[in-house]
Structure formats: structure tokens, C-alpha cells
Symmetry: none
Subunit: 420 residues, 2 copies
């Protein structure tokens, strides 16, 4: 059986004005993919009847399933109902039982219902409706003479998700039958996207299932393998050998084959080793701490971070020596090493991880923007590194963060290998 082809239409001038981001489309797409429905197109249109009608007609001409979000509220600019009726060439019929539902809903909330809300009881002739738990806007389910399905759900994310989860996704999962699309994301750091693509080129040139996609962001490359099969297990089986091969070809660079964040990988390693870490940061301004403390239960492996934004704080709190400050300065591997030792000591942690540098845009302490110095200290050793990161302030911070965490990851992996 061919997979169901779906299309998502975001309705609302606020999307086209850039006042809100069409996050609903992402959420819906991800869920539809999981039940084996192919999303082939997204559209967004404003609160304009002609354009809404045209968008629905186009979608119905090329997709099996159309799901619209937004424009179901009670105000004058909520005209998705009218747009659907126009595209289907039917009239809107007011449903007294929805009127009753609305009146009761408002009464229960102790609010007076403005008459304007009753437009929400209008349903295209022949269509079904979905009564909401949250909010007041009913959803719509229309089936065309060609057996195409058109859904309309509210634009408010929580209300949209309620109807998708409660009604739309179960209906479509039943129609889609046993089919699964599974993605596995392998994430790498310390290597350029084009280099990754070159090394994997032959592996993927001929592979349609799983398909492969590359995504690059500051300090990281993602390789996403997506397989389609009738069951989840079968799709996983298609992905597994390729994922292993990617890992084997890029040892050291791959930090996860299951889409974990770098800090999650580190948390796992620290847990396995029963070890703790503390940080000392200036350039990264607290982002190492933020990432290492993101997960619930982080306090079992993360002790804290000294965010020392001044030379005095590096000296007074972390014990960086006057000699280092007067000599190589606060932007140096020497300083990073002393910071790593200092934070390890004051937090009584097994590992101390430190970053200093120049985020920019201006030079600092005689060093150019982008200069990053890292160091790691542990019971039996220490290491350090320095480099120039590309990009603006935000990118430099991201590179520094990523490189520091990756230094820690490598150390923990070595340790775990040595222990076992």
C-alpha cells in the first residue's frame, strides 16, 4: 500500500507577518511521520478567504489528507470554517448541540458568553466536528466525495495537540495501517559537515531506505538516517548496520548514535564512572553549567561552576596565580589549567573543566576575538587546548562550549575503557 500523503496548512496572518512561528507544523509533521504518514507539503496563508479556499483546493488536488490549524476561534478574522466550506462547495450549518456545549462551557467557567462565540457552532454541511476539552473552538472532520480527509484543528498549540492526539492521529494511524518511519540521528563534533559527507559518500550514494540527511549547526554535524518499513522493529533493523558503519568510519567524532545531547552522553558516562565534575568558565558565561545541569538528577554528577567574569574573581575564587595573570594572561592555556585545578578543588569534584577566551567582538587581554582556551584536570592528570573559533559572539561561545564538553567526553570514555 502506498503511504498516505498529507499536507499541513497553517492559517493566520500572524504567521505571515512573522509574529509567531509555525511550530504547530513541526509538531504535527513529527507525529505524522511516526505513524507512517508522509507529509509532502506545508503551506501557510493569511486570514483571507480567497487564499484560504485556494490553499485548500490545491492541497486536496495533491494530498490524501489535509490538516489545517488556526482560524477556528470566535473573532472576525477566524475564517477557516468559511474557507473549507468554499473549497468543498458546501454551506455552513449551525449545530444547536455545539451551541449548547458552548453555553455550558462558559457557564462552567463562570463567564458570560459573548454571542460572537456562536459562530463556532457552524460546521460545513456533511462534516463531523470534534468538541474540545481545552478552549472553546471545535475541530472539523470533512471527507470529500473522493474519500480525501480534511481536518481543521485550532491554532493554540495545546488545543491543537489535544485534538491531534485524541482524534486525528488515531484515525490516520488506523488508515495508514502497519507502517513506521524511524529516524536515527548520529551526532558528531570536531569535524566539518563536508568532510563527513565525503567520508560517507559511497555509503549513502545508493541508499534510498534508509535515506540520509546532513544538518550542520555551530560545533556540530548531524547525520540523520531515516528508514521506512511496516514495523518499527523492521525499520530499526534497516538502520542499525548503517549507523554502526558511520560510527566505525568516524571514530572519536561521533558522540551519539541515538540523538542524545552531548551533555546527556556526558551525564551517562559520569554516572557509569560514579564521577563528578565542576566547571570554571568566563567566555561561556554559565552555559557549561546550564547544559550540565539541564537533566533531572544532575546533582549526582554536577557539582557546580564558577562563572568568573573578571581577572580578580579568577584569582580570588579559583586561585589563578598572579604570575599567570601577569605573564600569559587570563586568556591562555595556563590560566585555563589553573582554573580547572581551582574549580576541581573548591567544588571537591573528580574533574574540573575550564574555559577562558575572547567571545568578541573586541579583542581582550591582547588576544583576538574567537580565541578559546580549554583545560581539564582530574586526579591523575590534566590536559589543555586552544584554538580560534569562527563566527560572532554567540557562535564562538557555542564552539567553546562544545569543544570543552567534547574534551570531557573523550576523557570519560578513556577512563571507562581503562576501567573495564
Amino acid at each position: 500500500m502506498e503511504a498516505l500523503k498529507a499536507e499541513i496548512i497553517g492559517v493566520g496572518t500572524e504567521i505571515l507577518l512573522g509574529q509567531i512561528c509555525n511550530n504547530n507544523a513541526q509538531w504535527m509533521s513529527e507525529r505524522l511521520a511516526q505513524i507512517g504518514v508522509d507529509v509532502a507539503y506545508h503551506q501557510a496563508v493569511g486570514d483571507n478567504l480567497d487564499r484560504i479556499e485556494t490553499a485548500f483546493r490545491l492541497a486536496l488536488s495533491r494530498s490524501d489528507v489535509v490538516i489545517a490549524t488556526g482560524g477556528l476561534g470566535p473573532t472576525q478574522d477566524d475564517i477557516t470554517r468559511e474557507g473549507i466550506a468554499a473549497a468543498l462547495e458546501v454551506r455552513l450549518v449551525r449545530h444547536p448541540e455545539i451551541e449548547d456545549f458552548l453555553r455550558e462551557k462558559f457557564a462552567r467557567l463562570g463567564r458570560r458568553m459573548a454571542e460572537i462565540n456562536l459562530v463556532q457552532a457552524d460546521v460545513p454541511e456533511g462534516a463531523e466536528y470534534i468538541l474540545p476539552d481545552r478552549g472553546t473552538a471545535p475541530g472539523l472532520i470533512c471527507v470529500t466525495p473522493q474519500r480525501k480527509r480534511m481536518y481543521a484543528v485550532p491554532g493554540v498549540p495545546a488545543e491543537m495537540r489535544e485534538m491531534m492526539t485524541g482524534t486525528v492521529l488515531p484515525e490516520l494511524a488506523a488508515l495508514a495501517g502497519p507502517s513506521a518511519l524511524v529516524s536515527r540521528t548520529i551526532r558528531l563534533t570536531g569535524i566539518a559537515e563536508s568532510k563527513v559527507a565525503e567520508i560517507l559518500d559511497d555509503l549513502f550514494r545508493a541508499s534510498a531506505n534508509p535515506s540520509v540527511a546532513y544538518l550542520a549547526s555551530s560545533g556540530e554535524v548531524k547525520v540523520r538516517l531515516t528508514a521506512k518499513a511496516t514495523t518499527r522493529e523492521e525499520a530499526e533493523r534497516l538502520i542499525e548496520p548503517l549507523a554502526l558503519e558511520v560510527h566505525a568510519r568516524l571514530p572519536g567524532f561521533v558522540f551519539t548514535t541515538t540523538d542524545e545531547e552531548l551533555e546527556q552522553v556526558i551525564a551517562r558516562l559520569l554516572d557509569a564512572l560514579g564521577a563528578t565534575v565542576a566547571c570554571a568558565e568566563s567566555l561561556t558565561g554559565g552555559s557549561l553549567a546550564l547544559r550540565l545541569s539541564a537533566a533531572p538528577g544532575a546533582s549526582s554528577y554536577f557539582k557546580g561552576s564558577a562563572v568568573t567574569y573578571t581577572a580578580e574573581a579568577k584569582r580570588d575564587i579559583l586561585g589563578v596565580s598572579q604570575q599567570t595573570m601577569d605573564g600569559p594572561g587570563v586568556v591562555s592555556e595556563e590560566c585555563a589549567r589553573e582554573m580547572a585545578l581551582g574549580t576541581r578543588r573548591i567544588f571537591q569534584a573528580d574533574l574540573g573543566l575550564a574555559v577562558t577566551g575572547v567571545a568578541g567582538p573586541d579583542p581582550h587581554d591582547g588576544k583576538p576575538p574567537g580565541t578559546v582556551c580549554l583545560a581539564l584536570a582530574w586526579d591523575r592528570g590534566r590536559q589543555s587546548d586552544s584554538f580560534r573559533a569562527p563566527g560572532d559572539r554567540e557562535q564562538v561561545r557555542r564552539w567553546a562550549e562544545q569543544s570543552a564538553l567534547d574534551m570531557l567526553r573523550h576523557r570519560l570514555e578513556d577512563q571507562l575503557r581503562a576501567d573495564t
Copy 2:
């Protein structure tokens, strides 16, 4: 003159799979609106040549300007160049000067260039190209025989923004002529969205220009006033009296009438007072530090933060008393007060700001998830506060962060009033 009608096309299967959100469309839409270009449609299509071509043809049939993002990279699934050439019915021509640019770019970064990168030197016949500062993917500018303009820019947000800001937006602003859509965002904290809407209801009920939109996120409400006029100045004049009235009705809650981040407002106040701040955080895990250090030049007012994730670190580094730890515990206003005093001392800052609490999902130290305790210490006093924040771990952290920064803002504003 009719406004230019624009359409944005996001290219990439990862968008349709819901693996990434099409945030680029929002960013571009917002900027296009500001220069008076009407965005009438968004589309998103996958990495499929036929569908990309069809999307471009549809867009060219109904819009004056088409801007595509994504699919310009060096890998096999980057086929936006081919899609544009097909829609325009021209061939792709390799440009040796782009090849040279790519080789030099890689050489400058000290990296070997994979041959695969050279596909980025392919340009549809007759089109112009935009060489990138960031990244390696050139952008494209095509003008059709019907004088419609088609741009392609990379999907990586920083690279997209560079070309939009440097080339596409200036070109379109010149074509659009004198027309301006100006938005002013007034941001409030410490008050619920529905309360804001109620207080401002009469003010906006009849106002179409400026129009008003409310947006709520954790710990913050935004009120956006949008005015359309032939010049920027005229639009600003329409907005000004309403912005002032909003401020007058919600004194204390409004922290900016010019869309600044709360930390920017604080930076301005600290600069004006010549004062410095240091933080002590556990619950917020470094995010206070990150926000206060985000701006270039932050080191003139931000001294640092002690991210103390354990009771021992609170005691050893910040000097929280054993009495407090044994009595009210590490999740208490007493502890927050001692943390604030401690960080002020160790960083030698004028103000010490502290947060402790329970991010969740589990209780900690006998206190339920969502418990937030804040304190601020300065030369002549201190204050503290505690409350239960709603939501999950991330929302609790965001509320805590926002409330702590707002406590600091109020203190600084009082100080500035006292000084003048």
C-alpha cells in the same frame, strides 16, 4: 503603488519530517513586513526535484518575489540549485570564480576542501550569486523575463540572516519604496496575560492601526503594537501615544517599551549607576550568568556567578551557615539571603543576586517542585522572596530566572530614582 507580494519557500525533508522547525520563515517574514513587503504565502517542500520545481513555478505564478531557504549546501540532498534551474528552464553553469572563492575559503581555515564542495559553484544561467562570509554556500539571485525576483539563501540560520541583511532586504527595500510597517513590543513580567488583556481591553478594542497582539511565554507577556504608514517616522508617531498609555496603566510590570530583553534593561541600569552584580544560583543552573553576560562589554557590570549545585558548595564557596542548612535548609529564603551575601563578598560586587529552589520533577530537601527562593543583597540592605512556580523543569527555571532578574531591576530603578 501596490505592495510587493512575496512568498517564502523552505526546502528540506527535515522540515516535513518535523525534525526542524521552519524558524527561518518567521525571521524572514518579520523583516519583510518591516520594509513594507507583503508576505502572502509560505511553502515547505522536501528534497525532491519535481516538488521543488513545482513549488517554485507556483510561487512565480502568484508572487512578485520568491525567497527560498535551504538546499544550497554541498551534499547530495542539496538540490535547490537544480530546482530553480528547472523552474526557470535554464541550465546550471559552473563559475570558476566561485570555485576559487571556495578553495581560498577552505585554505584560509586551514582545511582541505572536499571536491564535493564545488557543486556550490553551480549557478542557474543568467543568475547572479551572493558570496558568503559565513559558511561556504553562495546565495542566488534570479530575475525572470516577467521581472519577478527569485532569491535562494542557505538554510543555516546565521548564513541565511547574513545574506538577507546584506543583500536581499536592502534590494527589496529599494524596490518596495517608502512604506513602513513598524512594530513596537512592550514587555511585562510579574502579571498574567489575561489580566493584561483585561486592563488594556478598551484601549485596543477599536484600534486597527496600530493593531495589537498579545503573546505570552513563561514569566513574560508581550504586547505588540503594529502600525502601517508611508514612513517609519509616521508609523512611530501612531504607536507612541498607545505605548505610553500601556506603560501608564501597568506601572512596575512593564520592563521595556522597545523590545529589550530584561537583561539588557538591567545592563543599562547597572551602567547608569556604575554598579556591578554577581550571582549565586542552584535552581537556575547558570542561566542568570548566561543572560547577564550575553552582551558584549558585560564584564563592566557583571562579575560572575557561583553556580553551586550542592549543599557543600553553598557552604564552602558562598559561606551559607551550617545553622541554615540544618534548619530551614538549602531551599529557603534564609539560604538565598546568605547566598546573595556570599556571592557579593567573594566577587566583590555591589549587588549579590541569589536563587535556590526545586526545578523538579522530584521534591528536594522536603520542598515541592516549583519552589523558588530569591534574594538580593546590596550595601545598605537586602530583600528576599519565595513562591511556587507552575510548569515543568524548564518553565520553573524560566520563572525563577525572570523573577530574580526582575527583583534586581526594581532595586536598580529605585536606586536610580533615589540618586536623581
